[in-house]
């Protein structure tokens, strides 16, 4: 029998017992919807966590340091040129690293402890420069109060919540709910803070001229003077999340535009700028990679250039393992409903065999082979699986949208940024439908085989 005829006869048979077959198909739909719902939740939460972690810079960032900096004993264990022979991590090197495949940007780490005054009260804190690109790729700034820096070198700051609390003299009570970030930001946004800092300026002796120490080239120039300066900065944002979470105990609580920080010629411990020249030398660069999977390759490439490099991409392994287990559990629980639905298919088809026993006998008497009878029942099971799968995926998707909608209302009331905790990728849609058809065909195996093996003489006698 041709495929069209098998399909045609199967659909005709399904229509004959439309109520019972519809109930069976609804059973499959509920099963598929439950599977899709569970997996969508798992995938959504995984994506949310991955996005958050990736955008925190934890997993897509390689930190490149100069091997000349002997303070980091970790680097001493690595293979490579001796510190004295290793290249300088200067601006040309930064540009070269930025050209590596997969690298999105490479920028110097500028962070320093300094005094920030607000209402004439001094507060000592860590200040860090933030690249302008963080506006779009660090979601710590997504849900913040206020706005991101207006330009690359704007005299503006964004405060971390704990520092904002400190400025306002609020002490979080242990066990109490978090302070409302919107209320916290209200008295601060638009106000000014004064940042005091040490500026390095080139000393006249730094010029490539003869000094008392002998002949020295420009790169060796080490003479500079330190001048105390202050910069007025406007508070434009207060962020609840920690944009600098990667830094552990060295986390900054005040953030200013990186370009501004560079222009200020700050005196800081890790900027090994021995002059105030245009080509400073850095001890540390943050190298942002487009895809976390490319991190190991970029890390190796940086090491080959003679620098030290490290990332914490390995830490994602345990996270991936956790989500693999979670997805597995969710899939098992989601499949339970489909397993129950598959029993419904077996029941429906066995009932159909009993009802259509004589019809099967007639078809066999007219020349239908066992394979054709089997194919017909398979087609009926497959059609129920296909329709059930398609309806189930739609139901699962709709359920997901509804839960997502409800969850975002809840998050909004809790003053959290909106989040997409539900994700139904195309592969899940196609896999769920394919799985539904496969389960249905499997369920149809026994009834179809039973129908095919029917004795035509017995079947024709059946009333």
């Amino acid at each position: 029998m041709k495929f069209y005829d098998v399909t045609d006869l199967a659909v005709r048979n399904l229509r004959e017992s439309v109520f019972r077959n519809s109930l069976t198909t609804i059973g499959i739909s509920v099963g598929v919807a439950s599977l899709v719902a569970m997996l969508s939740l798992g995938i959504g939460v995984q994506q949310l966590a991955s996005r958050r972690l990736q955008r925190s810079g934890l997993f897509d960032t390689v930190v490149a340091t100069s091997r000349r900096d002997l303070r980091n004993f970790r680097e001493q264990r690595e293979d490579g040129p001796p510190p004295a022979e290793s290249p300088a991590l200067d601006e040309p090197a930064r540009q070269k690293i930025e050209q590596l495949p997969g690298v999105v940007e490479a920028y110097p780490d500028i962070r320093f402890v300094t005094e920030v005054r607000f209402d004439d009260k001094p507060h000592l804190t860590m200040v860090a420069g933030v690249p302008f690109s963080a506006k779009n790729n660090n979601d710590a700034f997504d849900g913040m109060q206020g706005s991101f820096f207006s330009s690359e070198a704007a005299p503006e700051v964004i405060l971390q919540k704990s520092f904002a609390e400190e400025l306002l003299g609020i002490k979080p009570k242990p066990g109490a709910d978090d302070t409302n970030i919107a209320e916290l930001a209200k008295p601060l946004l638009g106000k000014e803070v004064t940042m005091r800092y040490a500026e390095r300026t080139a000393s006249p002796s730094a010029s490539p001229t003869k000094t008392g120490l002998g002949e020295r080239g420009p790169s060796d120039a080490a003479a500079y003077s330190v001048v105390s300066r202050q910069q007025v900065l406007k508070i434009v944002g207060v962020t609840d999340l920690d944009p600098d979470s990667m830094r552990g105990t060295a986390r900054a609580r005040v953030f200013l535009p990186l370009k501004l920080a560079q222009d200020l010629h700050l005196m800081q411990s890790n900027l090994r700028d021995t002059s105030a020249s245009d080509s400073p030398s850095y001890t540390s660069l943050s190298v942002r990679v487009g895809n976390p999977n490319q991190v190991p390759a970029v890390e190796d490439a940086i090491k080959k250039m003679g620098f030290s490099a490290f990332s914490i991409v390995d830490a994602t392994r345990s996270m991936r393992q956790f989500f693999a287990v979670l997805d597995g559990f969710l899939a098992i629980f989601g499949s339970l409903a489909l397993a129950v639905a598959s029993i419904g298919i077996v029941n429906t088809l066995v009932m159909a065999i009993l009802e259509r026993r004589r019809e099967i006998g007639i078809m066999k008497a007219l020349g239908a082979s066992d394979a054709e009878v089997r194919g017909l029942f398979f087609a009926e099971a497959g059609a129920m699986g296909l329709v059930g799968g398609a309806v189930g995926v739609t139901l699962g998707w709709a359920l997901g949208r509804l839960i997502n909608f409800g969850m975002n209302i809840y998050l909004q009331r809790q003053h959290f940024p909106p989040a997409e905790i539900w994700s139904v990728p195309l592969w899940l849609v196609l896999s769920a439908i394919a799985f539904s058809v496969a389960v249905s065909l499997l369920s149809g195996l026994y009834p179809a085989t039973r129908a095919a093996r029917l004795d035509p003489v017995q079947a024709l006698r059946y009333e």
């Binding site: 006869l9 048979n13 078809m363 008497a365 020349g367 239908a368 082979s369 035509p456």
Partner: protein, 255 residues
């Protein structure tokens, strides 16, 4: 007497075990049926007529012996080969018509052509022609339950002939019909036997009908062949009452 052999059975047996008892439905029947013969199987209920017919139809397998149709021993064929045999070599008509109630007459008659993988357009045309020949051209879209017994049996006959079988097997085709309608069906069977040279093997209780239309009568009792009568008179029967029925044209030809 026809020259070639259409059906031969050799010591054919079909025994059933029913609890403790062994039922010998067919018990060592050996017969030869020539191509183009119209043979009636007669006997009381339980004499083994339908069992013999089922064995020749390839619906059942013998316990022992052989059924040879067109040179093939059906006992040696696989299930798949038997299905092909039923599709292409045999046409069957049943007492209870056995039309599928959920299908229209046209769809019922088309059904064997679906198994034969005939193209949709061609099979629709063939089924229409076949129904036209049995006088049901105005009932194509009707379902079997909307028709009289005679009309259902005519549709069943149209379906049996759609694949141009060499052998037409009829299991009490007039059993559920009144005498007038029964005669109409017999006339159709006789007409196809005469015009196409199609071998007909018919189970019947009605001696009178058999005598009128069959060229040979096989009497069965307790699964055995007890009498084999050639009805020489059938050729001389008054055939004036038999209406002229046009035989179906081979597939692809216009009637």
């Amino acid at each position: 007497m026809p020259n070639s052999l259409a059906v031969r059975t050799e010591s054919l047996c079909r025994h059933y075990q029913m609890g403790e008892a062994l039922v010998r439905a067919v018990d060592g029947i050996s017969i030869d049926i020539g191509a183009g013969e119209f043979v009636a199987l007669l006997g009381a209920s339980g004499s083994g007529k339908s069992s013999l017919l089922n064995l020749v139809a390839g619906l059942d397998r013998p316990t022992s012996g052989a059924v040879i149709v067109q040179g093939s021993n059906l006992a040696a064929l696989s299930r798949e080969q038997l299905a092909k045999y039923r599709l292409h070599t045999v046409g069957m008509v049943f007492q209870s018509f056995n039309l599928i109630p959920s299908m229209s007459l046209l769809e019922n008659v088309e059904l064997p052509l679906r198994f034969a993988e005939v193209d949709r357009r061609e099979r629709s045309a063939l089924a229409r022609q076949s129904l036209e020949r049995v006088g049901l051209s105005g009932r194509l879209a009707h379902r079997p339950t909307e028709l009289s017994g005679g009309e259902q049996q005519r549709a069943s006959l149209a379906r049996a002939l759609i694949n141009h079988p060499k052998l037409l097997l009829a299991d009490e085709p007039t059993g559920n019909l009144d005498s007038r309608t029964g005669t109409e069906i017999m006339q159709l069977l006789h007409s196809f036997n005469q015009s196409l040279g199609m071998t007909v093997l018919m189970v019947t209780h009605e001696q009178a009908l058999a005598e009128k239309y069959a060229g040979r009568m096989l009497h069965l009792a307790d699964g055995r062949l007890v009498d084999d009568v050639t009805n020489n008179d059938v050729r001389n029967n008054d055939m004036r009452n038999i209406s002229s029925v046009e035989a179906p044209a081979p597939r692809g030809e216009t009637p």
